[in-house]
């Protein structure tokens, strides 16, 4: 880890501790924008990391940005930082300058359809999308749309959109957005190879979510360790009971595995944004999320089942996030496509990323 990265982590962690508190997270669920948290990150240059300076970014690489996301996950930060990162990464890959505005993304699924029509001085966009993260607080939304000349990508100013509030399991804003003949400047409409862009978004989404989930799992482990050390029953701390120790060990294993999987995915992303490592990581982290939430709630019992306790800030997010940006099933299909390409006895080559150079032997 570079010195700069250590500084980024230290600064971000301080901001998170101070501005992503229990009160902030709870009031975000009530519809209060965590403005201080966002502004602190903006002021410290944390919003446009991994974007070249000539495109309005702050430099650094993706792993720097992902360190910030990991902490955002750990502290359940109620802000669209992952979406803003990804939208800006996509734009900057296309050579477009970015700003420090709050940008969200309309994930191109079945619920989404946007059509752009050429007008005299630009374009007019109409359409709607469901489950747009944090749309009600965002300035702009990245949209995949259709024109008569093919697929385009554009950003829509959300001041002119109709927004119906909705939430995921964690109370995070996942809104329904409709736009009706909203003007879009010609310069922001970019013709794209849709499959390539969607693929990039899918993999970047899987990666960012995995990293945030690894952060959330770390927090859960901390909570469980503290609880089992402080809470006593039958005259001794919970962690002295073998039954609890077994649970604690399983939870530790899942957390360590999720962390390793996410880190490996981060590493692979720099050289290949479509690597199978991201698929393998999201599968593993999703699996860890289910197991860990179950264990944590079992160990914390009724106390952890209340709104008063903060365990649910992480567990409810994990339950949502494992389904966002690809379930196990979605990512299994990516890995399966890789497996289908294998010759006989080549699974080990795939595991080691070292191809067989020798002639085959029939087993």
């Amino acid at each position: 880890m570079s010195e700069i990265q250590e500084m980024i982590i230290e600064t971000t962690e301080k901001i998170m501790q101070k501005y992503s508190t229990k009160e902030v997270i709870n009031s975000a669920e009530e519809g209060q924008w965590a403005g201080n948290l966002w502004n602190q990150l903006v002021n410290n240059g944390m919003i446009t990391v991994a974007i070249p300076e000539e495109l309005g970014g702050n430099g650094g690489d993706h792993s720097d940005a992902l360190c910030i996301l990991r902490l955002a996950g750990k502290y359940a930060a109620p802000i669209p930082i992952a979406e803003t990162y990804m939208a800006n990464w996509i734009l900057s890959r296309l050579g477009i300058s970015v700003s420090e505005e709050i940008v969200t993304i309309s994930y191109p699924d079945d619920s989404q359809s946007f059509v752009l029509n050429k007008t005299d001085d630009g374009w007019s966009i109409s359409g709607r999308a469901k489950n747009v993260p944090w749309a009600r607080y965002a300035n702009k939304m990245l949209v995949f749309g259709k024109t008569t000349e093919g697929d385009v990508l554009t950003t829509v100013n959300l001041d002119y959109a109709q927004i119906k509030n909705n939430m995921n399991l964690a109370g995070e804003a996942r809104d329904e957005v409709s736009v009706d003949n909203v003007y879009v400047e010609d310069s922001t409409v970019i013709h794209i190879d849709k499959d390539e862009q969607l693929n990039y978004l899918f993999f970047a989404g899987g990666l960012t979510r995995s990293v945030m989930m690894a952060g959330a799992l770390e927090s859960i482990l901390d909570i469980v360790i503290n609880h089992t050390s402080e809470r006593a029953q039958f005259g001794k701390p919970l962690h002295r009971f073998q039954a609890i120790q077994q649970q604690l060990a399983l939870l530790t294993g899942e957390t360590a595995a999720a962390s390793m999987a996410a880190n490996c995915a981060i590493k692979s992303f720099e050289t290949n944004p479509f690597s199978k490592e991201i698929a393998l990581a999201k599968i593993r982290v999703n699996e860890a999320a289910g197991t860990s939430c179950k264990i944590a709630h079992q160990v914390l019992a009724a106390i952890g089942f209340t709104y008063e306790h903060t365990l649910h800030h992480n567990t409810r997010r994990l339950w949502s996030w494992r389904d966002e940006n690809g379930t196990e099933r979605d990512w299994q299909q990516i890995v399966t496509a890789e497996l289908m390409k294998l010759d006989k006895n080549e699974l080990w080559s795939l595991m080691t990323n070292v191809k067989n150079t020798l002639k085959k032997v029939e087993q």
């Binding site: 770390e218 482990l221 901390d222 360790i225 089992t228 050390s229 962690h239 073998q242 609890i244 120790q245 077994q246 604690l248 060990a249 399983l250 530790t252 294993g253 957390t255 360590a256 595995a257 962390s259 390793m260 999987a261 880190n263 490996c264 590493k267 490592e277 698929a279 393998l280 990581a281 599968i283 593993r284 699996e287 196990e328 099933r329 990512w331 299994q332 299909q333 890995v335 399966t336 497996l339 289908m340 294998l342 006989k344 006895n345 699974l347 080990w348 795939l350 595991m351 080691t352 070292v354 067989n356 150079t357 020798l358 002639k359 032997v361 087993q363």
Partner: protein, 384 residues
């Protein structure tokens, strides 16, 4: 959480040459018919011939100093050798313990004479060791051992017995943990020592214990007034417990803790790819995801161990999760392909299934049971 932080290891490009060399060797041996691949080959695959050939190529004792017959290569290169042979289901049981555990123990605690005597022979693939820990009344509670050596002129007289000793019937020596003084009820780990027992000595009786399949890997080993010369004491008298425990992280985090049933997963993948069974392959994808994660954890720990970072907690984690996965492979396979597992079958997958199922109870017992490991992990993270 510092206790579970594991570095990511990027294998150097040069290591691919080593991998190629090994794959070439394995493929040639398979063509010659030297061995049949099987699951759990590091316990049940014994081939003095293959061990010797590996020794000739410098693949045993790889990291040791050249003056002791080693190659002075990195622990990551050693890792590559072990994982390639395991993945191929090759019979490496002969030298496995000596290479993994006994050799490093001599390097760390042995005398110069011991190193000069044992290490070159081990590295040649001609000298095998067993682990003498469990006793009839000391299983998970290892500190309850009773085997005892009493000081005599120029050595020790050992009495007692060891049980569940894999490979004692083909090993030349056993590193035996025993008491060298009376038990101290206040310090159960004190006064234990590690002695090298020459298994051909008079007074040593090795009796087979058949596995539930009738296979012979386990033994019970009896010591009846066995004389152990002073030169065969490893490290310090009385320090046996600590010496033994220091090596456990090596034993627990290696690739043999998640690759024992890899030949089954490989064959299952072959079949599903051939059948174009994407649903089946989706299941395999999940297993691949877990294996990939564990392998990266295990590689990271190999690196930490080389740097001398204590890694007992994370090593125990890898063993717990890895052995559980080894057991699950057959459970997944049986539901995605139609096979009738049988050790005698002509079909590879049916044999691999049978080996995986019938050997599965051992995976989560040997080298520390699941329950013991989880206790270690829990205590490890609570302490931090």
């Amino acid at each position: 959480m510092k206790a579970i932080r594991i570095p990511i290891i990027e294998l150097p490009k040069e290591s691919e040459e080593l991998r190629d060399e090994i794959r070439q060797f394995i493929s040639e041996e398979r063509e010659k018919g030297t061995f049949e691949p099987k699951c759990d080959s590091w316990l049940s695959g014994y081939s003095p011939d293959l061990s010797k050939k590996m020794g000739e190529r410098g693949w045993i004792g790889m990291t040791w100093p050249a003056k002791y017959g080693g190659q002075e290569r990195s622990s990551i290169e050693r890792y590559i050798v072990t994982e390639e042979f395991l993945a191929a289901g090759a019979p490496v049981a002969g030298h496995w313990i000596a290479d993994r555990q006994s050799g490093p123990l001599f390097l760390k605690f042995g005398t110069e004479e011991q190193k000069m005597f044992f290490l070159p022979k081990i590295a040649k693939g001609e000298c095998y060791f067993s682990i003498g820990l469990s006793e009839p009344n000391a299983g998970s509670d290892l500190a309850a051992i009773k085997s005892r050596a009493v000081k005599v002129d120029k050595g020790w007289i050992l009495n007692g017995s060891k049980i569940w000793t894999s490979g004692a019937h083909f090993s030349h020596y056993m590193i035996t943990l025993c008491r060298t003084s009376t038990q101290d009820p206040n310090n159960r780990h004190a006064f234990m020592s590690q002695l090298v027992v020459d298994l051909s000595s008079s007074g040593v009786t090795i009796r087979p214990i058949q596995l539930m399949t009738g296979e012979h890997h386990f033994n019970e080993v009896f010591f009846d007034d066995v004389f152990i010369p002073d030169e065969m004491v490893v490290g310090e008298i009385g320090n046996g417990w600590n010496q033994g425990m220091a090596e456990l992280a090596y034993e627990r985090s290696g690739p043999e803790r998640f690759l024992s049933t890899f030949p089954l997963l490989n064959e299952l993948t072959n079949i599903l790819v051939e059948q174009g069974d994407k649903n089946g392959l989706n299941q395999v994808s999940t297993v691949v995801s877990r294996l990939w994660t564990l392998r990266n954890m295990s590689l990271g720990i190999a690196q930490l161990l080389e740097e001398g970072v204590p890694s007992n907690t994370i090593a125990s984690l890898v063993k717990d999760m890895g052995t559980k996965l080894e057991q699950e492979m057959a459970e997944i396979a049986r539901l995605v392909v139609n096979v009738t597992p049988s050790l005698q079958s002509d079909s590879l997958i049916e044999r691999f299934m049978a080996q995986s199922i019938l050997h599965s109870p051992g995976f989560t017992l040997r080298g520390g049971t699941t329950e013991i490991l989880r206790g270690i992990v829990a205590k490890g993270v609570i302490q931090k």
